[in-house]
């Protein structure tokens, strides 16, 4: 490895080093505040290192990794969400029974895993990243280990993730058997002359899709989502919903673009079915829910379905649409779960929809932030979610996928119903049953609220003035 290689890998090295540093810091001074601030600083450093490596792009570290505009962008999103989760974690864990110090180590490892996914162009690095991410998540989900829901969620995630990893490995092995390589570009080369996929490859790809489908929680692999979202601590849920899904989606997208999987009818058909089912079933299941975390879980299933609609055409527009929508989804989801985190108290998370009653009159700022996030999820203009949805529709319609676009529209109308229900609850009633703010940590409470306000300003800023971000994404190339 040359010096330049190390330079290009700075963000990943920083993240890996941070986890060790934090471990050392725990050994020296066992103070939650110090550790939290330390990791906040390290996250910031890792995030800013992304700007630093811009001039190298695109940079290949053969055969495993590729660092180009798209992967740096995805890494940026992932590290950013790690940063936000880190900020939110303080007030959440400070009053919990569990000592939260190791939590930050795990958070760094998970972020590292997701980032490795974003830069990988080889099955080995893909699997490596995925396992770093998943193993860290087992512990994070079950972090409050004396609580039943947490343990249940942790076990569920453990079993299903191990199961899906097995599928993924077997699929990779089959593809390796067919093509003789695990690197995306060589796989792509061996497919170029073929008109249809050989059965062995198709089986392998199918099994990989099962594995990846579990991680992305698309229908029909979505069963675990609601339970895990509900059981995990709220900041961890935010992390699962954003960073973990974003990393996996990025590598899937890169794989499909590189092998040009979009020209095979069978694969397309499978993806279309998954997208349609995710949009419809995700939204329909959310309608019945009374638990905000579960609602957001099902809505994330639907949003992955929307993302697949932009994914399916596989055009230049797809790359931009997927990038933009991922950004929109990250910002919005972090904001929504951030509010859940801030409103949670010592005993329970603020997950019952009833506990949001009269929030508008009790905490107008929080309610406005939450509304902006929900409206963005629903895709209403003035928010980034609308521009994202517009982008997706444009990408779909450009390739002539009218029916899928129509299904997207119909299912997002269903989605509107439950987002509106939360908003309606927030202005219904006169008296809030939530406690009066976090008196214990007024400074960190303020910091969290400022962070969330900044996020909601981002939601509106990119909703009104998206052209800057769009121009930036115009340069992404995946091949």
């Amino acid at each position: 490895m040359s010096g330049n290689d190390f330079f290009a890998l700075t963000p990943l090295l920083l993240l890996a080093g941070s986890s060790v540093l934090i471990m050392l810091l725990i050994a020296i001074k066992l103070s939650h505040r110090v550790i939290q601030l330390g990791s906040l600083l390290l996250f910031t450093v890792a995030f800013s290192s992304l700007f630093y490596i811009q001039k190298l792009l695109p940079y290949h570290i053969d055969p495993l990794l590729v660092i180009d505009g798209f992967s740096v962008f995805i890494m940026g999103l992932i590290i950013f969400s790690g940063l936000v989760v880190n900020i939110l974690s303080y007030i959440y864990f400070e009053e919990k029974e569990e000592s939260p110090k190791e939590y930050y180590v795990l958070l760094f490892l998970c972020t590292l895993g997701a980032c490795v996914l974003a830069v990988s162009k080889h099955f080995i690095s893909l699997f490596l990243g995925l396992e770093i991410l998943t193993v860290g998540l087992y512990a994070l989900i079950a972090y409050l280990r004396v609580r039943h829901h947490n343990i249940e969620a942790g076990i569920k995630y453990l079993v299903l993730a191990a199961f899906s990893s097995a599928f993924l490995l077997f699929g990779m092995a089959l593809i390796y058997l067919q093509t003789g390589s695990m690197e995306f570009s060589i796989i792509a080369r061996s497919l170029t002359s073929l008109q249809s996929l050989p059965p062995l490859f198709l089986t392998g790809l199918g099994m990989m899709l099962v594995g990846v489908g579990f991680k992305l929680a698309v229908v029909p692999f979505h069963m675990w989502t609601a339970d895990v979202y509900q059981g995990a601590p709220a900041p961890v849920t935010a992390f699962i919903a954003t960073a973990s899904k974003g990393g996996v989606f990025a590598v899937l997208f890169r794989f499909f673009i590189m092998i040009d999987g979009f020209r095979f009818k069978v694969v397309m058909l499978i993806l279309i079915c998954i997208a349609v089912a995710s949009m419809i079933i995700g939204n329909l299941l959310a309608v019945q829910q009374k638990n905000v975390k579960r609602i957001l879980a099902y809505s994330s299933i639907a949003h992955l379905g929307y993302l697949l609609v932009a994914f399916i055409p596989g055009s230049m527009m797809s790359i931009k649409a997927v990038s933009f929508y991922l950004m929109a989804y990250f910002i919005t989801t972090l904001t929504a779960f951030g509010i859940v985190t801030v409103l949670s108290n010592k005993e329970t998370d603020a997950e019952d929809i009833e506990s949001y009653k009269a929030l508008f009159w009790q905490h107008p700022v929080l309610a406005c932030i939450f509304s902006s996030a929900l409206l963005s999820l629903a895709g209403i203009p003035l928010t980034v979610g609308f521009v994202g949805k517009f982008y997706i529709l444009a990408a779909g319609l450009q390739a002539g996928f009218w029916v899928i676009a129509l299904i997207l529209v119909i299912s997002s109308v269903i989605g509107l119903y439950y987002y509106l229900r939360i908003i309606t609850t927030m202005f219904a009633g006169q008296k809030s049953i939530l406690s009066e703010g976090k008196k214990a940590n007024p400074i960190f409470y303020m910091v969290s609220i400022i962070a969330l306000s900044a996020l909601s300003l981002l939601i509106i800023w990119f909703g009104v003035y998206p052209s800057g971000a769009m121009d930036f994404m115009g340069y992404f190339k995946l091949k």
Binding site: W361, L375, I380, P381, L382, F386, F390, L393, A394, L397, Q398, W402, A405, L406, V409, I410, S412, V413, L416, Y417, L420, T424, F427, A428, Y465, P466, S467, M470, D471, G474
Partner: protein, 517 residues
Amino acid sequence: MILACIIGILMGGGLLALLLGQWNKNLSRWIALCTLLTGFIALVAFWIDQHHADNIHPSTTWMIDYRHDWIPSFGISFHLAIDGLSLLMLVLTFFLGILAVLCSWNDVKERVGFYYFNLLWILAGISGVFMAMDLFLFYFFWEVMLIPMYFLIGIWGSENRVYAAYKFFIFTQASGLLMLLAIIGLYFIHGNNTGIYTFNYFELLGTAISPPIAFWLMMGFMIAFVVKLPIVPFHTWLPDAHSEAPTAGSLILAGLLLKTGAYGILRFVLPLFPEAARELATWAMLFGVIGIIYGAILAYSQTDLKRLVAYTSVSHMGFVILGIFAFNELALQGVVMQLVTHAISTGALFILAGMLKERLHTRDINHMGGLWTQMPQMGAIGMLFAMASLGLPGLGNFIAEFLILLGAFKANIWLTVIATVGLIFSAIYSLRIVQKVFLGPSERPDQVRDFSFREIVVMAALTLSIIWLGLYPQPVINTVKPMINKLEHVFLTGNKSVQKGNHQATPSNAHKYIVKK
């Protein structure tokens, strides 16, 4: 620039009202009122100015054109322009906006700042809709007005408000998304034909689309507009939303939101898809006539005063659709008149209903009666607007409906004959309002107070304008004449070459007469 300022002033005023409303409730009321008055005076001054200028260049269609790049990678620009129709609707928007502020002056006591914020943002969205000449921007404003309206109904409405707010939002949002699909479809078809990807209205005007696709794209637009208008199978959100909304909300819904649907058809559906629109004409007129009769019958059978007035809107909007699809100048002039006069007369009836509700705490007309003796002023005004609603000569609605029927008669005789029957129904339900509310034996022995000074101001403004429109409608007709003429021109000469010529002429027209403000 003045156009962007109009939207800016409304949004800014809304924010100011929200922020200052924390300290002083009265302050946000005054801010809202001043914002709207400023805009209104500016627009009326511009209108009068333009009226003089019109005599010099009678062919000017576009009065102001303002354009600024917004999302260049998609060919989206912040493009506002107004012609006579837009100007008229803008004046109407600010006029009704002022009345909406005035009539909720004492009504709203809680969360005043947020209330006026929503009110002004709805008006900003509506103004944007009337000015946007970029299809993306149009959709943007189309949706922007929904959220504050949802809050207005959902927070300050009466008992069943949450249901009504949901229904309103989901109906309009669903239909709006279908329009978005059609807009994006049109964008790509135009882009593939010409290589220029743009949402600019003037560029999209001449797009050559194969007839079946044009039909579906048009239906995408139509569905959004007829839900807003509303036309009969899609009208069910309207009575709920109107009756549950607070008075100002009903006023804006009936007076302005419904008009955006008609405006959309006039501005977008007919010019963009003339061939497809002609094919749809008979069906559209038929549904219009069904709306007229059905709305009137349902209005007659209501006991809730606000629901009754809401159904009369359905009936009156049937005339609008009938007139639009007659495609001739008389009918189109009538449509524009109907938009303005219906906004005033129905708005007045909703305000009256709101005042009665405030005094009697009921909207059930069976619990009213004999109120004339106690409130002679309100009785007289109520009588006047009931007469306006039934189309009494001398009041604005008569001109509107007469012109529409005259124009529609040329297009389709039998449907027009049936539509005329609707006028008889409207006489029946209007007289029933007067009979049940103001005449008959008195239900209540206790004293009910008559108009306050503020209410007199509101009602006087409405009364003067409806009589003015009935006696001297010429300013309105002159203002929209260039736009209507051009629209009629598209349909008179149905062949493609003229359309192309028209398309060529439009943007140059617009730019030639840019008025730098």
